[in-house]
């Protein structure tokens, strides 16, 4: 039974001493990693598989019970076998890229990110078939977005395959986090992991730096963070919906939804001085408290957004041209979502509801919360799931605003930057960002100093799936399909 080979982390625990994590032979490690995914009674999803300090670690999250499962293996070898399933291939490319450990039987062993040297090239697959042609897109794209390179192999208008080359955004942020001289600098780096998920990433890092706080004492701060997280989700879902509407040439939708995002981020600006929520989350405290007046203004704004959005979303879903543009396109089955270990909005649209907010890792209770899901998995479902999540988040925001008002007597606390990490531990910090569960992993040594820091964004797993979803589709569907995924380049490249 694979569960004997894993350490099952108790509810809500983040720091796990290394001595608790089983150390298996690589053969056992590989077999139990695969076995865990085959267990139909659970929903085990690999959130991380990485090499650090000469060991391999696998971090699974069981979305059905809300527990982490951990195991490790010592492997001094320079060559290992691939685990042989889709869910781990991206991680293996990452391991290969960082450590030059060679991996046998991997179907596609290329570095996850283009190597950072000017004369290096990424050799795209080519076809010798003269009736096919290749289309290159990027790294510089037409719009104001991040760089990345796509190579399509097409038969006429039909896409036979897409290869995606990333790494153009590589800044080496994980190493900078490890090398930072203070936790203050680390927090500021966390703000810059990905500018669309500032709140999610800063919460994840705060949870690592501050250790386990007493929920009763920090109610106010936890609620403020959860509120900001929902506001970020709203803002980014609005951005995605507006972009999708715009791409379908439904401009009323685009111009009506864009200002809703403006309202949300201006509310954040009112609260903390930054439209993207920078400086809002700090370990064990905060600098910017939401005042009672501000609560009223924000509540008013959100109620307004709610009203305007209900009109526009029903109009969106009754527009025949938009529906026919999206319906049935670039479908992803529940089976593929499971096989590729996806989480977040994409998996919810394909009947696989995975969300960490219902687990013991959320620091505040989400009342009457059910994870949204749709079954079809096409472009339209990915649009609809965002509408559903927006409606849900609006209610959560209103509820949290009320709660914060009711516990306003709690004194605010100054952030603490000099706390130390637990000794020789692996620290896990999951947060439900707007794309899905973001996991930060910190490793500490016996002196409690930070030895390694890893960031796992849902985008990293989903990039190859974007290519997969484009198979046999029209090349003209790519922009909409890409927007329906809205993956982060930066959170992959780091």
């Amino acid at each position: 039974m694979y569960r004997d080979n894993f350490y099952i982390v108790p509810d809500g625990v983040r720091a796990i001493p290394f001595e608790n994590i089983p150390e298996l032979t690589f053969k056992d490690f590989a077999s139990c990693a695969v076995e865990a995914l085959d267990d139909d009674t659970k929903d085990n999803v690999p959130l991380a598989y990485f090499q650090s300090e000469g060991k391999f670690f696998i971090v699974l999250f069981d979305y059905s019970t809300g527990n982490f499962l951990l195991t490790s293996s010592k492997s001094p070898k320079k060559v290992i076998n691939s685990l042989g399933v889709d869910a781990y291939y991206q991680f293996e490319r990452d391991i290969y890229e960082r450590s030059k450990v060679s991996i046998n039987n991997h179907p596609y062993l290329k570095p996850l990110r283009r190597p950072c040297s000017n004369n290096s090239v990424f050799d795209f697959e080519t076809s010798t078939n003269v009736s096919l042609h290749e289309v290159n897109v990027g790294p510089v794209h037409a719009g104001i977005i991040e760089p990345g390179q796509f190579r399509f192999t097409c038969n006429g208008e039909q896409v036979l395959s897409v290869e995606i080359c990333l790494g153009f955004q590589r800044r080496g942020i994980e190493q900078l986090i490890v090398d930072s001289s203070s936790n203050r600098k680390r927090m500021l780096l966390a703000e810059q992991i990905s500018g669309d998920s500032v709140v999610a990433n800063t919460i994840a890092m705060s949870n690592i730096l501050e250790g386990q706080l007493d929920a009763n004492q920090y109610q106010l701060i936890f609620h403020e963070r959860a509120l900001a997280l929902e506001m970020e989700r709203l803002a980014m879902h609005f951005a995605d919906l507006a972009a999708l509407a715009g791409d379908c040439a439904y401009y009323l939708g685009q111009i009506a939804i864009e200002p809703l995002r403006t309202t949300i981020i201006n509310s954040l600006q009112l609260w903390c001085g930054s439209r993207s929520g920078r400086s809002l989350v700090r370990p064990s405290g905060s600098f910017y408290r939401l005042s009672l007046d501000e609560i009223d203004v924000v509540t008013n704004n959100i109620n307004n957004v709610k009203k305007l959005f209900s009109d526009i979303s029903s109009n969106l879903l009754s527009s025949p041209s938009l529906l026919s543009r999206l319906d049935g396109k670039c479908q992803l089955s529940q089976h593929s979502v499971k096989a590729f270990a996806l989480r977040g909005t994409i998996s919810k649209a394909s009947n696989q509801p995975r969300d960490i907010r219902i687990s013991s890792y959320s620091q505040v209770p989400y009342k009457n919360f059910t994870v949204q899901k749709l079954s079809k998995g096409d472009l339209l479902s990915r649009l609809k799931i965002r509408i559903m999540e927006v409606n849900q988040s609006i209610d959560i925001v209103l509820e949290f605003l009320n709660t914060i008002k009711s516990i306003w007597y709690e004194t605010s606390k100054f952030p603490v930057y000099d706390s130390s990490l637990p000794k020789s531990s692996l620290i896990l910090s999951p947060v439900e960002g707007f794309r899905g569960t973001i996991l930060h992993v910190a490793l500490s040594d016996q002196n409690s100093t930070l030895a390694d820091y890893r960031i796992f964004d849902p985008s990293m797993m989903a990039w190859p799936v974007l290519a997969y979803a484009m198979k046999n589709q029209q090349i003209s569907d790519f922009p909409v399909c890409n927007k329906s995924f809205n993956l982060s380049y930066l959170a992959n490249d780091l």
């Binding site: 950072c116 790294p139 153009f168 080496g172 810059q192 111009i255 009112l270 930054s274 400086s279 109009n315």
Partner: protein, 249 residues
């Protein structure tokens, strides 16, 4: 269907900001700082200098470089009597050193020495993201949304560098994008302008020492406009570009 659409049109009303220069941002917004070293011991000065994540604060003479600053407000919170961020959002410069705020002085955004009037009051820009963290990119995108609507002032972003008069660069310039930055800029016909938006682009921010960054592009090309902020606010983006083209907004 059409009636619903018309209804939406009216219920959403016109939301464009009427006057860009008269817009006031909330009190908590961190714009131009006012600084003074009065009452600080040399130890405290050192502490202040060290707490800044990007070494934006200089001690001798006491100054703060807004090209390096992340506008995080950490220094203000620890030394509230010495550093105060006002909500003044007009922060741009035409020379790098103009972004430095000196002690006990009020800082104002400069006038251009020689405004680029040949552009006939319109400017088309090609944006290039080179390691930008999406903060600046989202704000540049927001500059042309219905709220800020920069196109009414003749400013717009274009997909092809061939159609552009300027390149707006964001991000600290990663090694992997240094080649693309060069070729995009060279694809713009002369005379052309280079605009840097955000702290990352202006000084490299916290990434300046990362081995994956290559800022040599900026050794070869001199920027014409620095838009400060982390990220730069859309109001600031629009006003600064207007200023560059000899207008006041």
């Amino acid at each position: 269907m059409i009636f619903d659409a018309i209804k939406i049109f009216f219920s959403h009303r016109k939301q464009t900001i009427k006057s860009i220069p008269n817009s006031v941002l909330p009190e908590k917004y961190r714009g131009v700082p006012e600084i003074t070293s009065d009452g600080l011991s040399s130890e405290q000065l050192k502490e202040l200098q060290q707490l800044c994540p990007t070494s934006a604060i200089e001690v001798k003479p006491f100054s703060l470089d807004m090209g390096k600053c992340l506008f995080c407000g950490e220094c203000e919170k620890c030394f509230p009597n010495n550093i105060h961020f006002t909500n003044q959002w007009k922060i741009w410069a035409f020379e790098r050193k103009q972004l430095i705020v000196h002690a006990n002085e009020k800082w104002h955004a400069p006038e251009p020495a020689n405004p680029v009037t040949l552009l006939n009051k319109t400017i088309r820009m090609r944006q290039l993201c080179a390691g930008g963290d999406m903060g600046c990119e989202l704000e540049l995108g927001a500059s042309s949304n219905v709220n800020f609507d920069m196109e009414r002032f003749g400013m717009s972003f274009t997909a092809s560098p061939r159609h552009a008069e300027a390149m707006v660069l964001t991000g600290p310039i990663t090694k992997n994008m240094s080649f693309a930055a060069e070729s995009t800029f060279s694809a713009i016909a002369d005379p052309k302008l280079l605009i840097l938006s955000g702290t990352d682009a202006i000084s490299g921010g916290m990434f300046v020492d990362s081995p994956d960054i290559d800022r040599s592009f900026l050794d070869r090309h001199k920027p014409d406009l620095y838009i400060a902020g982390s990220p730069a606010h859309p109001l600031n983006i629009i006003s600064s570009i207007a200023s560059l083209t000899g207008r006041t907004l």
